[in-house]
């Protein structure tokens, strides 16, 4: 019995170790997350409060993922980059919505000034 349990524990430990070091660094995920962040910045997400919040979250998570990659924690880094990507996408969507809302407001104003 003791040897069986020891075997299970050793196997578990081995699995845990594998999760730490045999996963490759999420370079593609990092590239796409950074690209999304840049796109959000260029769109002017920092000008709209709600968008700026998600942009900042994305930037922080990218930085944190960078640190995790340095420490070899690839799996966690990958998840953080996924989070960063969705935050950046949301920042972009909110910024775009703001633009459309402005356009709608303008159309309404124009309509009301017509005879």
């Amino acid at each position: 019995m003791k040897s069986a349990i020891a075997a299970i524990v050793t196997a578990g430990f081995g699995v845990w170790l594998a999760g730490c070091s045999s996963t490759p660094p999420p370079t593609q995920r990092m590239t796409s997350a950074k690209a999304s962040v840049r796109a959000a910045q260029e769109l002017g997400a920092d000008q709209i409060p709600k968008a700026q919040l998600h942009l900042q979250l994305a930037e922080e998570q990218v930085r944190h993922a960078d640190e995790l990659i340095d420490r070899g924690e690839m799996e966690r880094a990958d998840l953080l980059l996924q989070r960063a990507n969705t935050d950046a996408q949301l920042a972009i969507a909110i910024t775009r919505q703001d633009g459309v809302r402005d356009g709608l407001r303008e159309s309404i104003d124009t309509m009301e000034t017509l005879p």
Binding site: M1, T86, Q89, I94, G103, L104, S107
Partner: protein
């Protein structure tokens, strides 16, 4: 089995049981569920179904992760991602709805602009129609005038085109006895035909000008020329020309067409000019004349 081993096994089994989801769900997963619920009840179902589906799949993955290993930090990350995706679906659906409203307004504006354009077009068509019939009328009048003058020419009365209009020159010797303002019979015959031609051009202004040579006093020549012009005018009116269409004026020796040094030149200068003004030309103001005196 020893007592220690049994403890070990029960611990392992207990731990295993604990991993089967009896631990409370992390706050992040609860938030993710709420976000998806809200998105699935919003316009996202209609306007952003693909994004909503992606959010659903992400939430399902997070739920599975939670069921497989409740305490794993992975559940929190996956729930976070699922929440953002639900928010994304909702945001994009709202944007599409706003864009649709803007399009509606623009379409309405275009329709009213188009309607206004149609009305203006209708008015312009009407005006153009009016102008065209005016133009046609004017063209017809021009043709009638040209034909009348051609007929006159065929009957022996020439006319010339000048800047001031069509000019019919009637020689003085034909029209009047020397020093007199009484029309000769031949003059009357000619003027009858001229009257007929003028009646073909009711819209044109006519000016009858009396001219003399330079012999004798200018003032007397002026009076004579005016008397002669009036005689011609009165006769034309008598023959049917509209009185308001025709004026008479005396020019005297002031506008010679030939050299007054020779008899031939002087004969040429003694004339009456009937000027048919160009279509649409304003009426020339006649010069102030003293009342005509009958010549002895």
């Amino acid at each position: 089995m020893t007592k220690t081993s049994l403890t070990w096994v029960s611990t392992v089994v207990g731990l295993a049981l604990a991993g089967c989801g009896s631990a409370p769900p992390p706050k992040q997963l609860i938030d993710a569920r709420a976000a998806y619920n809200r998105a699935s009840r919003s316009e996202a179902t209609q306007l952003a179904p693909a994004e909503l589906h992606e959010a659903k799949v992400a939430l399902q993955r997070a739920e599975k992760q939670y069921k497989d290993d409740a305490k794993s930090g992975k559940t929190v990350d996956m729930a976070y991602i699922a929440q953002r995706k639900a928010e994304l679906a909702e945001t994009q659906a709202q944007t599409l709805e706003l864009a649709r409203q803007e399009q509606e307004i623009e379409a309405a504006q275009q329709m009213s602009a188009a309607k206004a354009a149609e009305e203006t077009k209708g008015e312009l068509e009407e005006t153009r129609g009016m102008l065209e019939s005016e133009r046609d009328a004017r063209a017809a009048a021009e043709i009638a005038a040209a034909e009348a003058l051609a007929r006159l020419a065929a009957q022996g009365t020439q006319s010339t085109e000048e800047e001031r209009g069509t000019v019919i020159t009637m020689p003085g010797t034909l029209m009047f006895s020397s020093g007199k303002a009484e029309l000769r019979p031949q003059a009357r015959q000619k003027l009858e035909k001229v009257a007929t031609a003028i009646e073909e051009m009711p819209e044109r202004q006519i000016i009858v000008e009396g001219h003399t040579d330079s012999t004798g006093s200018a003032e007397l020549n002026m009076q004579l020329s005016e008397a002669r012009a009036n005689a011609v005018r009165d006769y034309l009116v008598q023959e049917g020309v509209n009185a308001s269409q025709i004026q008479a004026t005396g020019v005297g020796p002031a506008d010679p067409v030939a050299d007054n040094a020779t008899p031939e030149g002087r004969a040429e200068n003694r004339r009456v000019e009937i000027v048919i003004a160009k279509d649409g030309a304003p009426m020339q103001q006649p010069m102030q004349q003293p009342t005509p005196m009958p010549m002895p």
